[in-house]
């Protein structure tokens, strides 16, 4: 069984939408003093949950056809987006080690696609 390109595109869109989910949850985590009530009414947390739900819909559309071993790692491209959002919104350092890590992820994805043939 091979994995169609349309499935890969769905999963890539899922990774992009999901990366904003992480950013929203991080914003939400900065405002959690006050117990469960504060948590449940935290709009950033809800924005994060909605982003992940939307991401999951694209993910389900993607994984209807194709192999999970191939499609799931494609979601890891979300780390690329998240790295840039972390710099942009939270001023976290963009280090060489982080970019080297991303390079390893890309090579890893390439190997997974070789394994799919």
């Amino acid at each position: 069984m091979t994995t169609p390109v349309s499935s890969m595109i769905y999963v890539l869109v899922a990774s992009f939408v999901g990366s904003f989910g992480a950013v929203f949850l991080k914003f939400g985590s900065m405002n959690l003093h006050g117990g469960w009530k504060k948590f449940a009414t935290n709009l950033w947390v809800w924005a994060g949950i909605i982003a992940y739900m939307l991401s999951s819909v694209f993910f389900v559309l993607g994984v209807r056809r194709g192999q999970l071993t191939i499609l799931y790692p494609l979601v890891s491209l979300g780390y690329v987006w998240t790295l840039f959002w972390a710099k942009m919104f939270f001023n976290e350092p963009l280090t060489r080690a982080k970019f080297a890590g991303l390079a390893l992820i890309f090579v890893g994805i390439f190997f997974l696609q070789l394994g799919n043939r």
Binding site: G21, A22, V23, L25, K26, G28, S29, M30, L32, F39, V45, G48, I49, Y52, M53, S56, F59, V60, V63, R64, Q67, L68, T69, Y72, P73, S76, Y79, T82, L83, W85, A86, K87, F90, E92, P93, L94, T95, R96, A97, K98, A100, G101, L102, A103, L104, I105, F106, V107, G108, I109, F110, F111, L112, Q113, L114, G115, N116
Partner: protein, 135 residues
């Protein structure tokens, strides 16, 4: 270093471990959720968009998959209280290890050397991102 700064350093270290542990639990929940979502997605009709939507809304494996996903989002928010997002978030890559193993064991997807190397590289890559290091 005086006693106050020692205590602060210890608290920071404890918070960091708590955050990493929470993300680790999220990877276990995430792997279980993905297996359920994949199982559910395979049973959904391709006849037309309405049949697909109905299938998505009534599939029990999908429901429990999303419930686990929801729980892991709550834990993830708690984890993000301490530490860098760009270091904590890549810990989720451990999910690939569990999912790849489960896909071979339960879904009987073929395993080969390329896929094994790919998973190892991805895990090494996100581990390196997590360590961070100098600019």
């Amino acid at each position: 270093m005086n006693s106050t700064s020692v205590a602060t350093t210890e608290t920071a270290a404890a918070d960091r471990w708590k955050s990493i542990s929470l993300v680790f639990v999220c990877t276990l929940l995430g792997a279980a959720a993905q297996m359920l979502i994949k199982t559910g997605a395979n049973t959904i009709s391709h006849k037309d968009w309405f049949a697909s939507l109905l299938g998505m809304l009534t599939s029990m494996p999908l429901f429990f998959g999303y419930a686990m996903y929801g729980l892991s989002l709550i834990l993830l928010t708690l984890a993000f209280r301490h530490g860098e997002l760009s270091k904590l978030y890549p810990v989720i890559a451990l999910t690939y290890v569990w999912v790849a193993g489960l896909s071979v064991l339960i879904l009987h997807e073929p395993m080969n050397t390329f896929k094994g190397i790919g998973v190892a590289l991805i895990v090494a890559g996100v581990g390196m991102m997590g360590i961070g290091g100098a600019k």
